[in-house]
């Protein structure tokens, strides 16, 4: 391991926000470096003289740092290793911690020597959209040859392959005023609102509060900008009605003033405690949102303006002032405005004399004067034409501009180790725009600012295009006060302090330098996506003139930074070429998120087994203890079968089903939906909901019912019992329980409010156990000796309230298996007790539990329909429920049943299928064809919905839904499953395979 000479690029002053007493070791590309507490990965690398960080997306050009924060398009790294490895992290956003490991990405074999850079040598063949024009021949080569190469070259970092070891959590918050950004206007807004008594949340994306006040030499009241910022923060932190959050970025602004923010909770902590989440997502519903997100500096396009060492002037200043880091020792400052002069002054403080190029003819701003007063000669009317230096900037070709600034008139080669450029500023309007705010173009600053707002959102300060400190503070205090007045009656206004900052002259409308004579270097606009001026020119030349077309054709603004530093320069260039003013060019849409958000943060705790809740019956524990194999039924888990010894699933299922047919079996049916229906109009209501008649159902009786949707499709089925005159107990299928309840509520509340009925889900209130088989009566008689379970005492479809010991129990005589059967309900807490009691009592009768598979076998043999038949695409006539459809009364969906296609002669109907060889099991999902050898498309007569091994006849049996099904009975057709290469000759039979007359249930 090599330890480099460390921190040779630090400033001489120590007014920054790093702690030089705490040294942190970190590794970049295998080399160990040292930085200080308070550094970012970016500042620590720069301090060690490292500017080459990664490679660009398309041309694999060497890239360094452009910015110092979220605007960074270039310096993306692969952070951490192993399962915590994370691609595409802006080095500017990573706070240094001891032992941090980072690597360059999108390069091979190394960032210094990257094979992919061949793309750069050939870049003239890869202009915007080149891939649309080629790679078309031969046809198969696109997918097999060209595309894999392109895919490999593209991408940036590497995705981890294993689950994330870290935790994320969510927080839901409300406040009166949310202030986004803690620069001067944000602090002013928050202070004014908070002191007026509003509940305030102040969110700052960075570790430090203060925004531009951390970098600008200004005075507020009698304090420096920085002092004032920390004073305001401590005031806010002491107020009970304020929450102050750093490392927290509001990235999305959604409807009804819902904003979403992520907080980096422990990324900056070397060893976070066990239960600290890595990040936290905050949903904040704010009464008012104050957008004080500041502005981002714009680069300038010139030849090879992307080399490592070329960065924004404001970034260079922040590296010096906050991180005590020098971006270089031989700087060129290149600007079209006054603000970059403060960077020059900062270099001068460190005894470094920059070369200053200004595209303007002159400026009388105070910063400019101060630089001149220090004896520095400023080269006005100058710009950069080109640069040299492969892995790091070495020199620049600077030039004198002609009077219309379309050409250089003279050139000079100047050595440098960094270029600090400034093309003016772009207000950060993302949140305002996401909120639905229309933007307007503000000519004085050549940028879009928020205009008409649609939500309760107000932009202040630089985000509103107000660039002076006076304006920012005045707007902040005013808006903070006014908006907070909506929530409090204090009417307590905070005075705006006096402030002082150097005066500035206006910028020049020039963001793209002319090409140097006879050369055509790339002048980049979008750094990460490698979009150059020539690409925009090409797009326009080819007729891609809408700004959206330019964006899509060139990919301008579509990289990870989403155009934070490139969009406006792109617009400006389109406006120049198209000879349209910028507002006519328009702008692309600002979409959330403002910066990329970790998916784990968005998802929170609902991962792995917690993806969705798991519902278990109160008898679940018994099933587990008795070797049940479980199956998911929606959110529920149900016993599928209970294998004994070496039994296969088929063995177990056949045994369980046969035991029901022969002796008695019990099945946990707790998961069935249960709905209590009460009220004098309950019978009338059921009569409208169900297709069959309900008015005359006697108390103490159950009835099978089918309900439809209005389009005539079967929605659900189940038995409903009349407990007392005005009280019914409805059961639904497990899958449809929630839908049916909403359906009933809809008709009661919306359609027939005149009906006096109430409905309530009781699914969780009762545990249910089906007791089925010829010996079920004997079993239950043993358990409930006091009640008469004979056909007279409890006839088929009857019910009886009784007690199991002291526990209230209800016994229904209903059957899904087609056997003599009962269902016993008790309150859920007694479910396990009931089950155990039945097992105990049943030992004399050969009782066995059966799972969902045997349950299916039993119902399929009987031709009872269930989920696979009632799939939302079948009407009652399709599934043999004709007898359930009342001709006499109206009900939901009845009118649809007379549709031409529904009453067609050859309409599909339910049938049974038996393989001719009586052996071959017919896979569910097979289709029925007349000729299994016919060429495709082979007409399908129907499909196999459910299959089982008939334990009654000891051969396979299936249910199918077939066109003109009843007429097919007796025919031999083919059940085919081309997916499994299976074709089985089958005989079409009635779907009522066992006990077609239904005698057993009444036995």
């Amino acid at each position: 391991m090599r330890i480099s000479m460390s921190n040779q690029f630090r400033t001489t002053n120590s007014n920054g926000l790093i702690n030089k007493n705490k040294i942190l070791n970190f590794t970049f590309n295998g080399q160990t470096f040292q930085g200080y507490e308070g550094d970012t990965l970016a500042s620590a690398l720069i301090a060690n003289g490292v500017h080459l960080v990664g490679r660009s997306f398309k041309y694999h050009r060497p890239r360094g740092f452009l910015g110092v924060g979220v605007e960074e398009p270039n310096a993306m790294v692969q952070l951490h290793e192993g399962d915590r490895s994370e691609p595409n992290i802006m080095a500017t956003e990573v706070e240094l911690v001891e032992g941090l490991v980072a690597n360059s990405q999108n390069c091979w074999p190394s960032v210094k020597f990257d094979i992919g850079e061949i793309n750069n040598l050939l870049n003239r063949f890869f202009p915007a959209g080149f891939y649309y024009k080629t790679f078309m021949w031969p046809k198969s080569f696109w997918y097999k040859i060209y595309e894999p190469v392109i895919r490999k070259a593209a991408g940036m970092g590497i995705a981890p392959l294993n689950p994330d070891p870290d935790r994320y959590e969510h927080n839901y918050e409300h406040c009166d005023v949310l202030v986004v950004g803690s620069g001067p206007s944000g602090l002013a807004s928050a202070l004014a609102a908070a002191k007026n008594g509003a509940r305030v949340i102040l969110a700052e994306d960075k570790a430090h509060f203060g925004g531009s006040l951390l970098n600008d030499d200004v005075t507020i009241g009698n304090m420096s900008g920085r002092e004032w910022a920390s004073d305001v923060i401590s005031q806010l932190k002491n107020l009970p009605n304020v929450v102050v959050k750093n490392r927290s970025q509001v990235f999305g602004y959604y409807d009804h003033n819902m904003t979403v923010m992520f907080e980096r909770v422990s990324d900056h902590i070397e060893k976070p405690s066990q239960y600290t989440p890595r990040q936290r997502l905050h949903y904040i519903r704010a009464g008012e949102v104050i957008v004080s997100t500041g502005s981002i500096e714009r680069p300038i396009s010139f030849g090879n303006n992307d080399r490592p060492g070329i960065l924004l002037a404001s970034a260079a200043r922040e590296y010096m002032k906050v991180y005590e880091t020098l971006v270089g020792k031989k700087p060129i400052i290149f600007t079209n405005n006054d603000t970059a002069y403060s960077t020059a002054l900062e270099f001068l403080k460190n005894d470094i004399t920059p070369i200053i190029l200004d595209t303007r003819d002159n400026s009388d701003g105070e910063l400019v004067k101060e630089v001149q007063n220090q004896g520095i000669q400023i080269r006005f009317n100058s710009g950069i034409a080109n640069t040299k230096g492969h892995l790091k900037i070495k020199s620049a070709t600077i030039g004198k501009l002609d009077s219309d600034k379309e050409n250089f008139i003279s050139y000079e080669e100047v050595e440098c180790d960094c270029i600090c450029m400034s093309g003016g500023w772009t207000p950060t309007v993302h949140l305002s725009s996401q909120a639905g705010n229309k933007l307007k173009f503000k000519e004085e600053i050549d940028a879009y600012v928020p205009d008409q707002k649609r939500q309760k959102e107000t932009a202040v300060g630089a985000a509103n295009g107000s660039y002076t400190l006076d304006q920012s503070l005045a707007e902040g205090f005013q808006v903070g006060f006014e908006l907070s007045n909506k929530f409090t009656s204090n009417n307590s206004k905070t005075d705006t302090p006096m402030s002082k900052e150097p005066s500035q002259e206006s910028h020049e409308k020039l963001w793209c330098m002319p090409l140097p004579n006879g050369k055509k270097p790339k002048r980049f606009i979008d750094f990460q996506n490698d979009v150059a001026v020539s690409d925009v020119e090409l797009a326009l030349r080819e007729g891609f003139r809408s700004i959206e077309h330019v964006k899509r054709y060139t990919t301008l603004g579509m990289a990870g930074d989403q155009g934070k530093t490139s969009n406006l320069n792109g617009l400006q260039y389109v406006s120049k070429i198209e000879k349209k003013i910028v507002p006519e060019v328009g702008h692309t849409t600002f979409r959330p998120p403002y910066t990329p958000v970790t998916i784990g943060t968005i998802v929170g705790r609902e991962v792995g087994n917690h993806y969705l809740p798991t519902r278990k019956s109160p008898i679940h524990k018994w099933h587990e203890e008795n070797n049940a194999v479980f199956v998911a039924a929606g959110l529920w888990v149900r016993p599928r079968y209970y294998p004994r010894g070496n039994e296969t699933m088929n063995d177990a299922v056949n045994r369980e089903a046969a035991n029901v047919r022969k002796n008695v079996g019990i099945c946990d049916v707790t998961t069935l939906g249960k709905i209590d229906i009460k009220g004098p109009d309950a019978p009338e209501f059921l009569n409208r909901i169900y297709t069959n008649a309900w008015l005359k159902l006697p108390v103490g009786k159950a009835r099978y019912g089918v309900m439809l949707r209005e389009d005539g499709m079967v929605m659900d089925d189940g038995t409903t019992s009349r407990i007392s005159e005005n009280h019914f107990h409805m059961t639904t299928t497990t899958a449809q329980a929630a839908n049916v309840l909403s359906h009933l509520e809809y008709y009661l509340q919306v359609v027939w409010p005149e009906l006096d009925v109430n409905v309530l889900s009781t699914t969780e209130q009762f545990a249910g156990v089906a007791v089925a088989g010829p010996k079920s009566r004997e079993l239950l008689t043993k358990m409930f000796p006091s009640i008469d379970l004979s056909n007279e005492g409890l006839p088929f479809m009857g019910l009886i309230d009784t007690k199991l010991g002291d526990i209230p129990a209800r016994i229904y005589r209903i059957s899904f298996s087609g056997e003599l059967a009962y269902e016993v309900n008790v309150e859920s807490d007694y479910g396990l007790h009931l089950w155990k009691k039945i097992m105990e009592a049943g030992s004399d009768f050969g009782v066995q539990p059966y799972g969902t598979e045997a349950l299916s076998t039993l119902r399929i043999e009987m031709g009872h329909v269930a989920g696979p038949e009632l799939d939302g695409r079948t009407i009652p006539f399709d599934v043999g429920l004709n007898g359930m459809v009342s001709q006499k009364k109206d009900f939901i969906g009845k009118r649809s049943l007379s549709k031409e296609a529904f009453v067609a002669e050859d309409r599909q109907t339910i049938v049974g299928l038996v393989p001719v060889d009586k052996k071959s099991k017919i896979p569910e999902g097979s289709h029925i064809v007349e000729n299994d050898k016919a060429p495709t498309p082979n007409p399908k007569l129907g499909h196999v919905s459910s299959s089982c091994w008939s334990v009654e006849y000891n051969n396979p049996f299936s249910i199918a839904i077939m066109k003109d099904g009843k007429k097919q009975i007796g025919k031999t057709l083919f059940a085919v499953s081309p997916l499994k290469d299976i074709s089985i000759p089958v005989e079409v039979v009635s779907s009522h395979y066992v006990d077609p007359k239904g005698e057993r249930v009444r036995s």
């Binding site: 519903r285 389009d711 509520e745």
Partner: protein, 90 residues
């Protein structure tokens, strides 16, 4: 995330509610003759306006009441909500 005022419970976030579609649809009276066109119109055809839309919501994870909302389908602004037996007070 929308913020919806349940007429029974007050303002709640959208994730407590389920959507119920066009609130202007009147179910044909049960038992009355209706021609096919009108019936199909009820089952399948929708006004689908861009702008103000009367619609139903169900406070599924709350009081379980259905109610009406007047909402702009272009901006998602909710002008008013009311109980089923009320009219919007806009």
């Amino acid at each position: 995330m929308l913020e919806i005022r349940c007429p029974y419970c007050g303002k709640r976030s959208q994730n407590e509610f389920s959507y119920g579609g066009d609130g202007n649809i009147k179910r044909p009276t049960l038992g009355e003759e209706i021609n096919t066109k009108d019936w199909d119109d009820f089952v399948y055809f929708r006004d689908n306006p861009r702008g103000k839309h009367t619609e139903l919501w169900h406070h599924t994870s709350g009081c379980r009441q259905w109610f009406k909302a007047s909402r702009d389908t272009a901006t998602h602004e909710i002008f008013a909500t009311c109980k089923m037996n009320e009219d919007f007070n806009e």
